[in-house]
């Protein structure tokens, strides 16, 4: 028993729901979970939203968020069942034996205190070291985690450092008290892909050097494959499959796991460009006054062929969403113009003709705020039909149902409200709304990034099919290179307001690369064991070669 650091038996977790106007009732959110973790091992907990992975992950700290209670089974940490501990013994466990790294370090750090004070707080509170020793250890951890100026990093306040740095500082905070177990709760999800790789590598190295055990919670199988020794796949609060990382990735037994592993393996043959439907010519744009500061878009030119997809890829701050705002007329540019279907579009939305607006539709990232919660699906899809084509009454209804069929939803959805739909269904309704206008071009702004991988896959397949059937062109804005490979015919890579690489999909994704595209491509986690090490040794070799 002694070498089992963590041993969970028949875990059952319930929560009390309090819907307004109804009696509060209990629901089971986690059931029948058994796992044991020897010292020095890392277990990945993976699942889609609602799988209960965070709830299970937090249970070794005896902690449940908002009305969540552990109602059955046992959780043994270092050989004792923590569910039988009193309040003060529980406090002695937290921050000393079990530490936690949150998804958003920016929110998890107190804005009122210096980073150092927060990093060493648990160590001092539990009397594990003197302030001097703790600070020395923290500085060592800062150095190990690759933070800049480790000697003085701790003197800064949380808002003075970047998100990636805070995430590393939070890892230092968890490691500082030399705990036995660290819970990592999606620590890299909120980060840009290039930052994610660095943080991931830092976390992995720190785990290896200190010999700490870890629970690593994430929805991204490719990420967890890099850090975990074993993986547990969860769905609806129950275990689907549990095994060594290599086995789960290379030889999944359950059908659900197989789908998770093969996600994003959509492929389509890229078409070669032809006479463009939309040309963006030398657009320079900025928010605020003209001529002041750095422009958000700097001399951007791209073109889209009818019935094809141009993917615009970039990290946050690259200006990719601003490009969409310029094309739709929400943000008139300072310089440059936009040709659409052989004519020059007016810069401002208000001056554009109804016909221009109809032919250029948009789909948003967050489907639930892109639809009026007070309108039924029938109104949401029916309104463009009425507005552009004057379709009313029975004719409108028939057309709405036809459109619902195209997005693979039944006619019963006609009367529903957005609140009654799942995330994937909402996004489908938004696609139908865009389609109702019978457009020539649809701008898709991160349309799959808020969705679980399997749902996102469904949406991508739907978009590809609709493109075949309607010959509609897509301007596909995304930060996710895997999506780009699946759907694009041409690609524009954006970095700090400029297009740094542009061409057909096969040109852009084939070497020789420019530095940024290389960094971007090599940062996307691949679904195989050992990718992280290879990518890093590759980078080191390149650096030496230069």
């Amino acid at each position: 028993m002694a070498d089992q650091l963590l041993d969970i038996r028949n875990l059952k977790i319930e929560a009390t729901l309090r819907p307004p106007g109804e009696k509060p009732h209990d629901v089971t959110i986690v059931e029948d979970i058994n796992l044991s973790l020897p010292r020095g091992r890392v277990l990945g907990l993976i699942g889609e939203s609602g799988a209960g992975k965070s709830t299970i992950g937090l249970s070794p700290a005896g902690y449940g968020r908002g009305g969540v209670r552990i109602t059955g089974g046992e959780i043994n940490v270092n050989g004792r069942n923590i569910l039988e501990l009193g309040a003060s013994s529980m406090r002695a466990l937290r921050g000393k034996e079990v530490c936690y790294v949150a998804q958003s370090a920016a929110a998890a750090f107190n804005p009122a205190h210096r980073i150092m004070d927060q990093v060493i707080e648990a160590t001092l509170w539990h009397g594990l070291a003197s302030r001097k020793q703790a600070e020395k250890r923290a500085v060592e951890l800062f150095r190990k985690l690759g933070l800049p100026d480790p000697e003085h990093f701790g003197e800064r306040y949380p808002h003075q450092v970047s998100g990636g740095q805070l995430q590393r500082a939070m890892t230092a905070m968890a490691l500082c008290s030399e705990p036995d177990l660290i819970i990592f709760d999606e620590p890299t999800t909120a980060l840009d892909v290039t930052t994610q790789m660095d943080v991931l590598a830092a976390i992995k190295e720190a785990i290896r050097d200190t010999g700490v055990s870890a629970l690593y919670i994430t929805h991204d199988l490719a990420v967890v494959a890099q850090v975990a020794d074993e993986i547990m796949v969860l769905r609806h609060g129950k275990m689907v499959e549990h095994g060594e990382t290599r086995q789960i990735i290379e030889n999944p037994q359950q059908e659900y796991t197989q789908r998770l592993v093969s996600v994003r393996s959509i492929d389509h043959t890229a078409k070669s460009p032809g006479e463009p439907i939309l040309t963006v010519n030398g657009i320079t744009a900025r928010y605020g006054k003209a001529g002041i500061g750095k422009p958000v878009l700097d001399d951007v030119s791209v073109a889209i062929t009818p019935g094809q997809t141009l993917a615009v890829v970039g990290e946050s701050g690259s200006g990719k969403s601003t490009l969409a705002r310029v094309i739709t007329g929400l943000l008139p540019p300072e310089k440059g113009n936009i040709q659409f279907d052989g004519r020059t579009l007016k810069a401002a939305l208000k001056q554009r003709k109804k016909e221009d607006l109809r032919q250029l539709q948009m789909i948003y990232q967050m489907a639930d705020v892109a639809m009026n919660p007070r309108h039924t699906v029938g109104t949401i899809i029916g309104r463009p039909l009425e507005f552009y084509f004057g379709l009313r009454g029975r004719k409108q209804r028939a057309r709405v149902i036809e459109l619902l069929e195209q997005i693979e939803l039944g006619p019963e959805f006609h009367e529903r409200y957005p609140a009654e739909l799942s995330g994937g269904q909402k996004q489908r309704i938004c696609i139908a709304r865009a389609l109702a206008a019978d457009p020539k071009l649809i701008i898709c702004d991160e349309v799959t990034s808020a969705l679980d991988p399997l749902v996102a896959d469904g949406i991508l397949k739907l978009l590809l099919r609709l493109q075949e059937e309607h010959r509609v062109a897509y301007l596909f804005i995304t930060h996710d290179l895997a999506t780009v490979k699946a759907i694009a015919d041409s690609i524009a890579v954006m970095y700090q307001g400029q297009v740094v690489r542009y061409g057909t999909r096969d040109e852009v994704l084939a070497p020789p690369f420019d530095d940024y595209t290389d960094l971007l491509l090599s940062s996307v986690p691949q679904m195989r064991v050992g990718w992280l090490e290879e990518a890093f040794s590759q980078r080191r070799m390149e650096a030496q070669g230069n």
């Binding site: 819907p19 929400l330 892109a370 639809m371 919660p373």
Partner: protein, 273 residues
């Protein structure tokens, strides 16, 4: 919807309806007229005067019932004025933006930088306290609160993606205000309606208590407190009765408004709304 109503909200609704009934049917249910002297000053409760008599011997119950009419009418009119003015201008400011928004918002800031009661007293020092003046003064001053709320809610909604989607479709201002923004702004505004009414009742009562609100021979509940306040020192609780009536009305409406406010989340989606 009524089946899920908690007891407190039920009591609130019942009392509110009772007060409204008194206000509407005052001449039929009051035992005496407003001005009729039925006994000596400050007589205790009796079969003739169920709540006793007032400072000059009029029936307190009758005056209370007629007072309900005055109080509720003026407060309701002021609330309606405050509401229509505040919510229309607030939503308009949010949708128009630019200088129109700036002008209105800074004007409201200015009005709100003087406490409402003080500002009302200032106006009433030069204007006569007629019912029309009271309604306009209370309504305009209170519309600043409604304006702030309506504008905040509308500004929030105006930047939502679904409103942007409507703009990109080419929808006009009328559709955006009435079909996209208003249905979503209604729930918080309706909850606010109850609170504004309570405020109007308390505000009018305070003005009348200070002798600057409803003027004799008319009398609202605040005036009744003022007329009978001397009695307190002699141990006659006549002034406490209209004061308690004001409190009861305000609490009842508050209980109902509180219940509606809690329903708000329910109204947000789904068909139950």
């Amino acid at each position: 919807m009524l089946r899920h109503m908690p007891v407190t909200a039920m009591i609130g609704l019942l009392l509110t309806v009772l007060f409204l009934f008194c206000a509407v049917f005052a001449p039929w249910i009051a035992p005496y007229s407003m001005a009729e002297v039925v006994g000596n000053p400050w007589e205790p409760r009796s079969a003739e005067a169920l709540l006793g008599t007032d400072n000059i011997g009029r029936d307190l119950l009758s005056r209370l019932i007629y007072g309900a009419r005055t109080t509720i009418t003026i407060a309701a009119l002021a609330t309606i004025l405050a509401f229509s003015l505040g919510s229309v201008l607030g939503i308009l400011a949010a949708v128009l933006g630019g200088w129109a928004d700036q002008l209105m918002s800074r004007g409201v800031d200015l009005l709100m930088s003087i406490p409402t009661l003080i500002f009302a007293l200032l106006i009433l020092s030069v204007m006569p306290s007629t019912i029309a003046v009271l309604v306009v003064v209370m309504g305009v001053l209170d519309s600043t609160r409604v304006y702030r709320l309506a504008r905040a809610v509308a500004v929030d909604l105006n930047v939502q993606d679904f409103v942007e989607a409507a703009r990109l479709r080419g929808e006009g201002r009328t559709w955006i205000i009435f079909r996209e923004i208003l249905p979503n702004a209604l729930a918080p505004l309706i909850a606010e309606l109850g609170l504004r009414f309570i405020f109007a009742v308390l505000f009018l009562s305070s003005l009348s208590f200070l002798g600057l609100g409803v003027q004799p021979p008319d009398a609202d509940w605040g005036s009744l407190v003022r007329e009978n306040r001397q009695g307190i020192v002699f141990g006659v609780p006549a002034a406490l009765i209209p004061a308690a009536a004001i409190a009861a009305l305000a609490i009842s409406v508050n209980l109902v408004a509180d219940w509606i406010l809690k329903q708000k989340t329910d109204l947000k989606g789904g068909r139950s709304g």
